[in-house]
Symmetry: C4
Subunit: 252 residues, 4 copies
Amino acid sequence: MIEDISVRFFDSFKERKLLSPVMVEGLPGIGQVGKLVAEYMIHMLCAEKIAEIHSIYFPPHVIIEENGVVRLVRNELYLYHAENQDVVFLVGDYQSTSNEGHYILTDQYLEIAAELGIQRIYTLGGFGVGHFVDEPRVLGALNRPELREELEAAGVVFQRDEPGGGIVGAAGLLLGLGALRNIDAVCLMGETSGYLVDPRSATSVLSVLCSLLNVTVDPTQLNDRAAEMERMIEGLIEGEKIQSNDELSYIG
Amino acid sequence: MIEDISVRFFDSFKERKLLSPVMVEGLPGIGQVGKLVAEYMIHMLCAEKIAEIHSIYFPPHVIIEENGVVRLVRNELYLYHAENQDVVFLVGDYQSTSNEGHYILTDQYLEIAAELGIQRIYTLGGFGVGHFVDEPRVLGALNRPELREELEAAGVVFQRDEPGGGIVGAAGLLLGLGALRNIDAVCLMGETSGYLVDPRSATSVLSVLCSLLNVTVDPTQLNDRAAEMERMIEGLIEGEKIQSNDELSYIG
Amino acid sequence: MIEDISVRFFDSFKERKLLSPVMVEGLPGIGQVGKLVAEYMIHMLCAEKIAEIHSIYFPPHVIIEENGVVRLVRNELYLYHAENQDVVFLVGDYQSTSNEGHYILTDQYLEIAAELGIQRIYTLGGFGVGHFVDEPRVLGALNRPELREELEAAGVVFQRDEPGGGIVGAAGLLLGLGALRNIDAVCLMGETSGYLVDPRSATSVLSVLCSLLNVTVDPTQLNDRAAEMERMIEGLIEGEKIQSNDELSYIG
Amino acid sequence: MIEDISVRFFDSFKERKLLSPVMVEGLPGIGQVGKLVAEYMIHMLCAEKIAEIHSIYFPPHVIIEENGVVRLVRNELYLYHAENQDVVFLVGDYQSTSNEGHYILTDQYLEIAAELGIQRIYTLGGFGVGHFVDEPRVLGALNRPELREELEAAGVVFQRDEPGGGIVGAAGLLLGLGALRNIDAVCLMGETSGYLVDPRSATSVLSVLCSLLNVTVDPTQLNDRAAEMERMIEGLIEGEKIQSNDELSYIG
């Protein structure tokens, strides 16, 4: 019988002991902000993959990779050794397809965190504001009031009752269910339109997170991608304006 | 493995013995009538929180409270010591997101009721009539015919086959499943349009419930909120009329 | 913990032994044909209720009955002692709300049938044809070819590949899952428009079923209801015609 | 209690030992391509049915066959003895109705494969391209890179990142979950419009599969069906053209 969730740590990892580990969650969500940040850090820091997570709560399909080789949709754990602490990244293709699955998967992530001795979790996400934002702020949420001061010092903004709809999925439940396990957890949300993948918002979150983790990550490639995206959007808007003018001249 | 439902009684409560306890359920529903009444009573009577209930059947998200601290969506139990009996309030953010979850959660509420020695449950709700009601009546339903006389004496109206669609969710299932456990349960439903949160309907239910519980709760604040709501609605209607007149004069 | 399905036989029934029992299923479905037939027979034969079935797969609500007393939505078993055999009727408010629940509930019905020693099941339903039918035929389906002859002798029509969409829900699964348990089962489907509750179709099915069971049930009341329904439909059509004429004269 | 999935091997099969067996999956999917190929091969090779699979994850209904006899919707296994190897076909009426069910059913198929000693699985499907294709290619995916060369030699095309949406359902999961069990699996997808049942696409897949299995199957009947389908489509397009011309002449 298939397990509801299977967590497979790689043999290369099994013996290792972690040093003051923290977890960074960047699963898909609003504007893909969290996913962009976590995957960019994994890429730039050459973090090492240590585990794969499969689940019947993920969509029932496979992804085709290079050479036609498929793999199940999955979540993954990556490990990076920073100077004074180890960072475990949780990333992946999807979150749960069902309400119950969100709870059950997040509980499993916390089980992993507990096994690895993780005492703090950073969850990353986007905060949809419905319009394009030039200089996206990073809003914060946390599961223990004492964490706030440190976050504010790193530039995180706390806005009363925002986001009003709460935080949906793993980024929120890791805080809520984490509190029941006495694991500190904070959510960093980059302001974003909510309409498009948003690397600009991701750069804001990246900057705050690096400061909190005391890790250096060159943001140039992410900035480039953001600039490219902005040119594309401007192009679209410009195109619409030209079209509007055309229409006017046509009418005129 | 996460429990489907977790009930956590606070340490402050654990030793206490209850005196002829009754339960009052006011979870979200039509016009938020039940929720308004129960939460207003908790507020005015300074009832004490004694337990929190989390469940994978609730929506998978967290709510952001003061200072950016999040909490899981949840149900809660509050306790108030009335003169001759203890009143346990069941309130919360949500009901189940699935059909099966409604049954499973209600069964858990009844399990709690049985453990606390509760012999009667009042469930509160709205009865949607599709139009605004000036003086909302309180309709009743019950799970043992002998309870009717006492309810009618308190002003509850019984109308044949109403509500025709039955009573959905915990407010209904507590009666239905309660009967199988020999726990008396009655449902008090305030007439309401069904379109808006309805504090006017809530004042009617509050008045009947206080009489049944032999508890005094000053309804002023709830009345004020109802009056405010009514001014707002009148304003909207007035606005529409003015607009209509404008349109007419424009046409004319 | 609540059971997924609970079957409660009444104390009055428990000791009794059944004589060559058969089961008649008339749960809600197309045109409510099966439900009309089974409930009419229960009424006319003064069959005795012997059990109630509750389930988390039914919709999560209660129904309000006389005097404001509620009851859980449910399925019920009734017993009628015919001359040479006992007839157990399976009727109720709803079928399952989920796909999986249909299988699980039907398996439970068959478990009951096996316990009661039932060797044959008649399931009743409507066969939607998309237009009104003056003299509805009764189509048949079965789970053992040898049963066909007896059914045809009773007036049941077998039409190749009809209904093309198969038979959905308990009326079909009792045959399919029944075969795996070696319980004979046949489905009797009255032709019906599929748009309205159809007592005319029910009279056809009633007549065939009574012949098969060798039971006499006076169809007068069901015929009356069918005639009433037909007058109502004719009234509606007539009304439309008048309206059409009006429109024409108005245009003219 | 009903099993979530039941696999019933026929008595005639139970003693038999298989020779280097492979599995061919052809369940319903895009353009019914896989189903057409597998069922055509079963028919032409007179493969023998060896097992039936029922499940609560299939739709809750029965199918009416000859003489009014119904059967549960199901999946089936057929066996064909080729010269140097045995071929087990997995075909059926439906795939799972739920996300979780897809995983659980596929896991069961792999359990069967493991029990039968199957070392390679071919899954068949359609690859929707959104327009009619005259000479459909056969795209491939696999769960071990070493399998690619053999497939390319048989005419299978590998196209980077295609299909971009991945492969949904059993055809994909057999590869993904199969890899975790060290069972080789490849998916053969015929290009198809995605709008209609596509026997033309099926002939392409059939040809490649026969070459891979070193089996000879006369494609004439499938070709005839494809030609008939194409005449029908041309007729429809022609009809539309005529209608368009009519409209033009009417306007003119």
